[in-house]
């Protein structure tokens, strides 16, 4: 007998339970139903909620190096590539202008007790080597930025599918109802290719959609957060009280529709967000030591440092999934030409804030149940694009490196092996589906049971693929 994969609760049954409970009100109902179920009723969603088994991690911070960070120049040390530098090698490339093999211009060394290989590009992150779990055998499906970023986010190369943060929100709900549970912190210089489609809820309820904070300096961090300047606090307070009375009366006259009560609650939450979010986004509240650890006041690192620090403040307050973008369709890790200049510049921005995030989370005891994912959409080719000092590397989806840290992982582990020049994985290949399945697993979710019916298919984050990579888990 095949197991029933779905943990779904029949929607009719849920609504009936809610209706039946109408007599004793929301508080009583909340005490007898799991919180997720209650939320589901608000949102007309179709799947039951809550973890499938005890989670190892309660929240995720994902740091996305946009543009394609070179695995060969960061974590995947290939002595053979150094040796064969400048010799011919045959492989297809996206731009069709593949040159000779090119060694890594930076020195690789082993770091920490684990002896994890990290190149000289990332000295601070190397200092965190014993907290990292490095996967050097990642493969992705597209050699093109936008679809590849979409696959890392949603599992699919077409837009319109829910991002992992949306799936987690849908499955687990918010820990802090005064904050969105899926927050996106874009690079203030530019959004990734595809823009908000990269953090869409897709076909999941709008409650699951990512809320992109405005990360440029100045202005409210959330759209429409601020009461317009020409409305006095008193006028807003009185009008809100009037509105509450009207909406309460209307809800009482229409007992069959539970969304009417949810609306009243959401106005209250919104009002609290107006008060709480600006404070959370105010990094001035952090100590000088913390600010300098991240590099908030250093021009080179300021943008990513602000986002990393904000991410920590958000997860501290119960945000479930924070996604930080480093790079976008403007400036990014996309080193088609001048690999050295590009990666040195990007790494200087990236290295210190990200390392600070890990040590800060650790110092506050948060790393134990926070999963940090260091991802990129693809790696870069072992052959150069162009010649000479200013040559770059092309897109390389068939082998790249991601790193992870924190909740439930085996720290200091380097997993997977690419071939002698880092062109293809030779063992322990890890697909993006596998990465997603593993992340969901650490969050207490079975990727095969987390489904949502849409246009004829019970959709999953992992489509019909994916295996939990048990070896990564402590």
């Amino acid at each position: 007998m095949r197991a029933n994969f779905s943990m779904s609760v029949d929607p009719s049954r849920r609504r009936m339970l809610l209706d039946a409970a109408g007599g004793f009100g929301w508080a009583a109902l909340a005490s007898i139903l799991p919180r997720g179920l209650l939320r589901a009723a608000d949102t007309d969603s179709q799947t039951g909620l809550g973890p499938h088994f005890p989670p190892r991690a309660k929240r995720i911070i994902q740091v996305f190096a946009v543009g394609g960070m070179s695995h060969l120049d960061t974590f995947d040390f290939k002595p053979e590539l150094q040796k064969r530098d400048g010799t011919p090698y045959s492989m297809p490339t996206f731009f069709g202008q593949g040159g000779n093999l090119r060694g890594c211009p930076w020195e690789f060394r082993r770091h920490g007790e684990s002896g994890t290989w990290v190149s000289g590009l990332l000295p601070n992150l190397a200092g965190q080597a014993d907290r990292l779990t490095v996967v050097r055998s990642m493969v992705s499906k597209s050699a093109n930025h936008m679809p590849a970023v979409a696959q890392m986010n949603t599992g699919f190369i077409l837009t319109g599918f829910p991002a992992m943060g949306a799936w987690l929100t849908y499955a687990l709900g918010a820990e802090n109802e005064n904050l969105p549970s899926f927050v996106v912190l874009p690079d203030p210089n530019s959004h990734p290719w595809g823009g908000s489609a990269q953090w869409t809820n897709g076909f999941l309820p709008a409650t699951a959609q990512g809320t992109a904070f405005r990360t440029h300096s100045g202005g409210a961090p959330v759209p429409d957060l601020e009461v317009p300047g020409n409305v006095s606090a008193e006028a807003r307070a009185d009008a809100s009280a009037w509105l509450r009375r009207m909406n309460r009366a209307y809800a009482e006259a229409h007992p069959g529709d539970t969304t009417l009560d949810a609306r009243i609650r959401n106005y209250e939450i919104a009002a609290r967000m107006q008060l709480s979010v600006p404070g959370i986004a105010d990094l001035g509240q952090e100590s000088e030591a913390t600010r300098s650890l991240y590099g908030v006041d250093d021009e080179e690192t300021a943008d990513l440092a602000r986002n990393c620090l904000l991410a920590r403040r958000l997860v501290e307050r119960g945000v479930r999934f924070v996604q930080i973008y480093h790079g976008g369709s403007g400036k990014s890790w996309d080193a088609h030409s001048d690999l050295i200049k590009n990666h040195e510049e990007m790494a200087r921005e990236y290295d210190r804030p990200v390392a600070a995030l890990l040590s800060d989370l650790h110092g506050r005891g948060l790393l134990d149940d926070t999963l940090v994912l260091g991802v990129t959409e693809f790696g870069r080719t072992p052959v150069s694009q162009g010649t000479g000092e200013k040559a770059g590397r092309d897109h390389h989806p068939s082998c790249f490196t991601c790193w992870m840290a924190g909740g439930g992982l085996r720290p200091g582990l380097s997993y997977g092996q690419s071939d002698e020049v880092g062109n293809l994985p030779v063992e322990q290949e890890v697909t993006i589906y596998d990465l997603h399945a593993t992340a969901l697993h650490l969050m207490g979710l079975d990727h095969e049971r987390l489904t949502f019916y849409h246009n004829g298919i019970n959709r999953r984050l992992t489509d019909v693929h994916g295996h939990v990579v048990e070896a990564l888990i402590a």
Binding site: M1, N4, F5, S6, S8, D10, P11, R13, R15, M16, D44, F94, G96, Q97, G99, N100, N144, M146, L158, T159, S190, H191, G194, G195, S196, A197, P205, A206, P223, D224, V227, E234, A235, A239, W242, L243, Y250, A251, H254, P255, G256, D257, Y267, I269, A270, M273, Q274, G328, S329, G330, K331, Q385, G386, T387, G388, E448, Y453, N455, I457, N458
Partner: protein, 1018 residues
């Protein structure tokens, strides 16, 4: 309780099983997928039923299928291994092995099969069977006024439920106004309805609303959701599609005209290849090609990647067609047989074959060297109009060319000597004296954007005239530099020399390629060589090449360009790949030989007919003359060329040197040419519309496991085989044209014989009235869509719909005049306990307005709605902010009459969605959305509370109320009437009065817009 749940379960009908993982199926899964269609509980060919162990052992006419005693000798296995079963499509080896293993292991069945997928007996595949509801008069029950009411009452009674009482008239008119037009009734419309005491009062309102043009706007939105109406390309560039809005207007108009739905569907599938295509029928085919286009990926250097992207496009197209019209997810059968419905993989490819040649009207712009494809429109012309227009244009262009050539000859006669005299003979030369014509080879230039020849040099236009050459502007909105682009090479060029005399206006801050030769076949593979000024730390001259494979700093001294000087630069490319740069006749640094070990390091060959020469029009560096040689000149030849220099000539100087007769001739020719040019410009430009366009396509093969590198057998177009009474064999010939194929497919899909076609649309229309269709998943009538709540009613409405000539307005009338639609939304706890989802319709569902209705209603209530119909979309954003290499959309908070049009007319750009609309569940334009969600979130509250749009409308609303009523009480009354369609009660009046007195009308108006009563329909 258990009984109750079982009852509800039967109605919920939603399959909750997870997707079956691929490639590791066991025996039962294979039986389910490949055998049970013919040997299942429904159909038992040869008397065999394989859905349980018992029935399999019992066997059919040929005996037991499974032998428990001797498993390896089982008949089932023998026939499968012999390739006889399933007939025509034997099992792959993996599946055979899995079956053998499973049988050897004892052939254990997991209960009864066949309850997890649909067979040929699935309800939706059966022909329509319209029957009247079998009503017996029960005591005290009014006779139903329509068959709709009869069927609904039957359902209610069988569950022990009663319909709700009739809704109040105020609520009814608000409800029906939103259903048909998406706008609230005005207080005047309400009053006149309330005053109408005739029995036809309701019908009169229905007729008025059906005749309103706002009806088409409202219902077009439902359709546009379904067909993922997007006015941008998606993927990384997300370029705007400027010619898509005619499709939106076509849909609005079709609804307003009550066009036959059969015709509406056929036009969208094959309107461009019908017997007599019209503008509208061509526009209709936009539906096929509104999906996202990965224009960058389509030019990948990796052929498999290109092929895969094309297959994805076709799957998207086929998915839209089959889900929209047939409610079937045929696209799920691209890699394997459909997991839930009886659709073999081969039939996916048969359907795809009819669409294989369909592309969006996107086109490459290689001549400008711009990468890849751009959204475009297709000219609306009949073939004969197109031919005569082409002839006319060709004729003018010929005559202009003849005049230009004659002028060129006269001017050239006026030159004192040819610079070729005594020096190397160029392959082509551009003197830029008077125009962009070339000497020695017909590589005459065409100017793009602000490129022009003036004062004897080529550069960026110095006048403020708008960028000409509109063609490219249209295709590449907002693009940068101007170019002089030559005609295609008429001879292959390998070794070569590029030479240019450059007049310095000022030193450019950015690097610039002044003269280049470039191949065209795909920009990924394109090769380029050319004279480049490298700006930056060390300004210098260099050869340009894609990927810098042939580019190097030659070590020449840093360039220090002085305004008012002239620089001579030449680059030679020798057979062995050596490249040398010269400045002012002397070697500039050292010559070098790029790495010959890689193809891109060798001498590039520019083929005849597939390469051109391009000059960049700069305002910093102007070209006084340029030459192309078909060999590498020697250092001394270059020195000589520099020494002899060029003739600085311009039209006036040349003219003075002509004899009077030639001067007259020049004047005559210039006059003639200007006249011809005016007439050419005056030829009306055809309207451009988005649509399907047809490109040559190879034969269609089944792709094994969906892999583009693993083609299987060849197939011809055909429909599906699972639809009862409507065979999918189209009997099409190999030699038939693409148009014949697609037309046949349109006629197969949109047909009275196809029961899915009518059922699916009737179900959608029902859903738009009641929030939910008989089938809850309106684009999936297969197994996962579940069973319909009222199959009899669905079939009856479908056959009435066909009989009424596929008239949607007739269907509306019959639904809107039923008692079911006139029920109140009153809640009934005991009914909810039996049917919480209200699938039996014991009340009218209480629902939130969709995003567009919310925004439109605020505009209507504030009196600011611009009711202009049709036309170009409004764009509350700017496209152009450049970050890196890409342009982005930036939302603007503009508030103009244009932005105060209905939301339908807001340009549907994928990366320029509106936060307020998004928070109200407006879907991404690129996503097929058969049913809107209705969520309520804190972000939605924030947007409704604080967004600039709501503030503006509240202010407008307050201004309107002040104008229409005097005194606070009268103003409160008016505000309630406008927003809610009723007056406030005493308590509300007191509460509102005090709010207005303290904070003004704006506060009240803001509150009304945020009130549930405004945002919901009951």
């Amino acid at each position: 309780m258990a009984l109750l749940l079982a009852f509800l379960g039967a109605f919920s009908g939603v399959a909750l099983a997870g997707a079956v993982p691929e490639g590791n199926e066991d025996g039962p899964a294979i039986l389910e997928r490949r055998c049970l269609q013919c040997h299942g509980p429904a159909t038992q060919m040869g008397g065999l039923d394989l859905s349980s162990r018992e029935s399999a052992i019992q066997g059919g006419t040929r005996g037991a299928a499974i032998s428990p005693s001797e498993p390896s000798k089982s008949l089932l296995l023998a026939r499968v291994l012999a390739g006889e079963m399933p007939p025509g499509a034997p099992l792959p080896t993996d599946d055979r092995q899995a079956l053998r293993k499973w049988i050897a292991a004892g052939a254990e069945w997991p209960d009864r099969l066949h309850d997890r997928r649909a067979g040929l007996d699935w309800w939706a595949f059966q022909p329509l069977s319209p029957t009247s509801p079998d009503r017996t008069d029960s005591a005290g029950q009014d006779r139903p006024s329509s068959p709709i009411d009869g069927w609904i009452l039957n359902g209610l009674e069988s569950a022990g439920l009663k319909p709700a009482p009739e809704v109040g008239r105020r609520d009814w008119i608000r409800r029906v106004s939103y259903t048909l037009t998406g706008l609230p009734p005005t207080p005047e419309e309400i009053d006149s309805f309330l005053a109408d005491e005739s029995p036809q009062a309701h019908e009169r309102v229905v007729e008025r609303l059906l005749a309103s043009p706002h009806y088409g706007e409202r219902w077009a939105r439902h359709w546009l959701d379904l067909v993922r109406f997007a006015e941008s390309e998606g993927f990384e560039r997300d370029l705007p599609r400027d010619h898509v809005w005619p499709y939106r207007d076509y849909v609005v108009q079709s609804f307003n005209e009550d066009k036959s739905y059969l015709h509406f569907a056929r036009e969208q599938i094959a309107g461009d290849v019908m017997e007599n295509p019209t503008r509208d029928s061509v526009v209709a085919t936009s539906m096929l090609t509104l999906g996202p286009v990965d224009a960058v990926g389509l030019t990948s250097a990796i052929p498999e990647e290109r092929a895969l992207i094309r297959e994805d496009m076709l799957e998207e197209m086929l998915g839209t067609v089959t889900q929209s019209f047939l409610g079937l997810t045929v696209n799920c059968a691209r890699c394997h047989d459909h997991k839930f419905d009886p659709i073999p993989q081969e039939e996916y490819y048969r359907m795809k074959a009819a669409f294989e040649a369909v592309w969006p009207p996107t086109r490459p712009v290689p001549s400008a060297g711009l990468d890849a494809l751009f959204p475009h429109g297709r000219p609306i012309l009949t073939p004969s109009e197109e031919r005569s227009r082409d002839r006319l244009i060709e004729d003018f262009e010929d005559r202009i060319e003849r005049a230009s050539a004659a002028l060129g000859r006269l001017y050239r006669n006026a030159r004192l000597k040819s610079p070729a005299d005594g020096h190397a003979q160029p392959f082509a030369r551009w003197t830029f004296d008077t125009d962009g014509r070339a000497d020695f080879a017909p590589l005459h230039l065409r100017f793009v954007r602000d490129a022009e020849v003036s004062g004897g040099t080529l550069g960026a236009s110095t006048s403020a005239r708008s960028a000409g050459a509109g063609e490219l502007e249209e295709e590449d909105p907002g693009a940068g530099e101007g170019f002089g682009v030559s005609r295609l090479l008429d001879q292959e060029i390998d070794s070569k020399t590029l030479e240019a005399w450059i007049d310095v206006v000022s030193a450019p801050e950015k690097s610039l390629t002044l003269m280049e030769i470039r191949g065209l076949s795909g920009f990924r593979g394109a090769s380029v060589d050319g004279i480049r000024y490298e700006a930056g730390d060390k300004p210098r001259w260099e050869n340009v090449s894609v990927g810098r494979f042939r580019s190097q700093d030659t070590g020449g001294p840093p360039e220090d360009l002085q305004p008012g000087t002239r620089v001579h630069v030449a680059i030679t490319y020798a057979k062995d790949g050596t490249i040398a740069v010269y400045r002012d006749g002397k070697a500039y640094g050292a010559s070098y030989r790029p790495d010959p070990g890689i193809p891109a390091g060798r001498l590039q060959i520019y083929p005849s007919g597939d390469a051109l020469v391009r000059f960049t029009a700069s305002k910093h560096l102007r070209l006084a003359e340029a030459r192309l040689y078909d060999r590498a000149l020697s250092a001394s030849e270059i020195a000589a060329s520099h020494r002899s220099g060029i003739l600085d000539l311009n039209p006036a100087m040349l003219f003075d040197r002509l004899n009077p007769a030639d001067q007259r001739e020049v004047k005559r020719l210039e006059h003639e040419r200007a006249g011809l040019q005016r007439r050419l410009d005056a030829i009306p430009k055809p309207e451009l519309v988005h649509s399907a366009t047809v490109r040559a396509a190879g034969p269609t093969h089944v792709l094994i496991r969906g892999s583009v590198s693993n083609p299987g057998k060849r197939v011809l177009p055909g429909g599906l085989s699972c639809i009862g009474g409507h065979p999918g064999d189209l009997d099409l010939q190999d030699a038939a044209s693409e148009g014949v194929w697609r037309r046949a497919m349109a006629e197969w899909i949109a047909s009275a014989e196809n029961p899915l076609f009518s059922r699916v649309i009737v179900n959608r229309v029902w859903q738009a009235h009641f929030g939910r269709g008989f089938v809850g998943n309106p684009s999936d009538f297969g197994f996962n869509g579940g069973l319909p709540s009222h199959p009899g009613l669905l079939d009856q409405l479908a056959s009435d719909f066909i009989r009424e000539g596929w008239s949607l307005k007739s269907l509306h009338r019959s639904i809107l005049t039923s008692q079911v639609y006139r029920q109140s939304s009153r809640h009934d706890r005991s009914a909810a306990a039996k049917d919480a989802d209200n699938r039996l319709l014991w009340k009218f569902p209480h629902r939130r307005l969709d995003a567009e209705s919310v925004r439109d209603s605020m505009l209507a209530v504030s009196g600011e709605l611009n009711r202009m119909l049709y036309g170009n979309s409004f764009r509350p954003f700017e496209f152009g902010e450049k970050r890196g290499s890409l342009r982005h959309y930036v939302l603007t908070q503009s508030d103009t009459p244009d932005t105060r049009r209905r939301t339908l007319y807001r340009m549907n750009v994928i990366t320029a969605t509106d936060p307020l609309l998004e928070s109200l569940d407006c879907p991404l334009p690129s996503v097929k959305t058969p049913r809107r969600r209705s969520t309520t979130t804190p972000l939605q509250s924030l947007s409704l509370m604080n967004s600039a749009f709501v503030q503006l409308r509240a202010a407008g609303f307050a201004a309107r109320v002040r104008e229409e009523a005097a005194g606070v009480d009268a103003q409160v009354n008016r505000a309630f009437e406008l927003a809610f369609g009723r007056r406030p009660d005493h308590r509300e009046m007191a509460d509102s009065r005090s709010l207005v007195e303290r904070h003004g009308l704006e506060s009240l108006c803001w509150g009304l817009f945020n009130a549930s009563e405004f945002l919901y329909v009951r």
